[in-house]
């Protein structure tokens, strides 16, 4: 997700190639090639330019609908839909079985196609296996010198991360398991927090945790772009 304005000019992008699981896009205006995963122009007149990233989440439609009832949703192209070219609902299962490209540095601590939640802050990166998060949510951790909390949504699949320092105070979180739904509570004040990182009750009500971008990725791919990544481990 990138802002498409570079040096005051709005660029229009086209798919130009697939590069190691991520793709290359070409802008109509200069013909430069940009790498999707980094937003950087790797060839052409705008080589070296960096697109500004746009913060985004990956969540289930149910969660998004509830949070953004006034939002709009991209519609399918009828021709493509009729021709059955869109992914089937079980696409993740299918892709999970695909082979991994030769030539990638294979780190065997977990399966290459294990899903990890990748967090990169200030040059430090950590990969949290989804399976670990599903065993224990929230996860309290430090990425470099940034204190973060990762939380699994009610659907036990969507993940969000936030900085857990509020007004200079570092909070610890836990999940209340009585009753249903998402109940993230901080140990310091007992305030409850929504999956959007906003305190809904308690002394900190109204406060918003700073969102931290997470990338859901396959382990081998995350490691390819973050070779020094730490792999989070439940001890």
């Amino acid at each position: 997700m990138w802002e498409s304005t570079v040096d005051g000019r709005v660029l229009h992008f086209h798919l130009a190639g697939i590069n190691n699981q991520n793709f290359i896009m070409r802008d109509e205006e200069t013909g430069s090639w940009w790498q999707q995963v980094s937003g950087k122009a790797i060839h052409g007149p705008l080589q070296g330019h960096q697109l500004k990233s746009v913060f985004h989440d990956e969540v289930s439609f149910a969660i998004w609908k509830r949070e953004q009832p006034q939002g709009r949703v991209l519609k399918p192209d009828d021709r493509i839909a009729t021709a059955n070219k869109y992914e089937k609902p079980n696409w993740e299962e299918q892709v999970g079985k695909m082979r991994v490209v030769e030539g990638t540095d294979v780190d065997k601590r977990i399966e290459p196609r294990a899903l990890v939640i990748g967090v990169a802050v200030d040059g430090k990166s950590v990969a949290y296996p989804l399976s670990v998060l599903q065993q224990q949510s929230p996860i309290i951790d430090m990425v470099g010198s940034t204190a973060i909390v990762l939380a699994l949504g009610e659907d036990r699949r969507s993940v969000r991360a936030f900085e857990r320092t509020v007004e200079g105070r570092r909070l610890e979180f836990f999940q209340k398991t009585d009753g249903g739904g998402f109940q993230l509570v901080d140990a310091e004040t007992g305030s409850t927090w929504s999956f959007e990182g906003k305190a809904t009750t308690g002394p900190l009500a109204g406060k918003q945790l700073k969102k931290v971008f997470v990338l859901e990725d396959y382990w081998f791919d995350w490691r390819l772009y973050h070779p020094d990544t730490r792999l989070y481990d439940l001890k």
Partner: protein, 174 residues
Amino acid sequence: MPNLLTRLSHWANKHRKLVWLTLLLLIAIVMSVVLTPVFLIMPFKAQTSRTLEVAYVMRRWSPVVTVLASLLILTLTIRLWLGGRWWSRIVLLLLLVPVFAATWLARQNHFEWMFNPLPNPAYAKAAAVRFINDDDRVLSVTLGNEAVAYPIRLMGYHHVVQDTVGGTPIVATY
């Protein structure tokens, strides 16, 4: 100038073999400048930055190179056609087919054949959506006061969708 052309013409007549060789060389250049990037950027193939650089340069120049080479090829083909035997004329015709195909292909984006772009994306209000299930995953962007969801099942096909959210032009990618 006409003198030079006549001289070249006579020379070419005497050296048909050389002209054939040049023709074949030009055809090889056209095919390789167009097909090499296709093979270098195949999905699921490991790529280095060097291969990408080569692919970029070839793709960048192939529209021009193929047109110029095609003109030369046509000239040489005409030269060889005249005074050529029937079977050599058939060969010449057959050789022209891949040349024109490659020249045309140099101006196409075959990735967009595989993954059609979405030039005029349409959106539905959240409540009106029927084509996405509750447990389907979406990429969600909120800018200014506007929230947009890009279903991953759709983005996994189109890969690139241009949009403006909260007044900011963006390119949604997956």
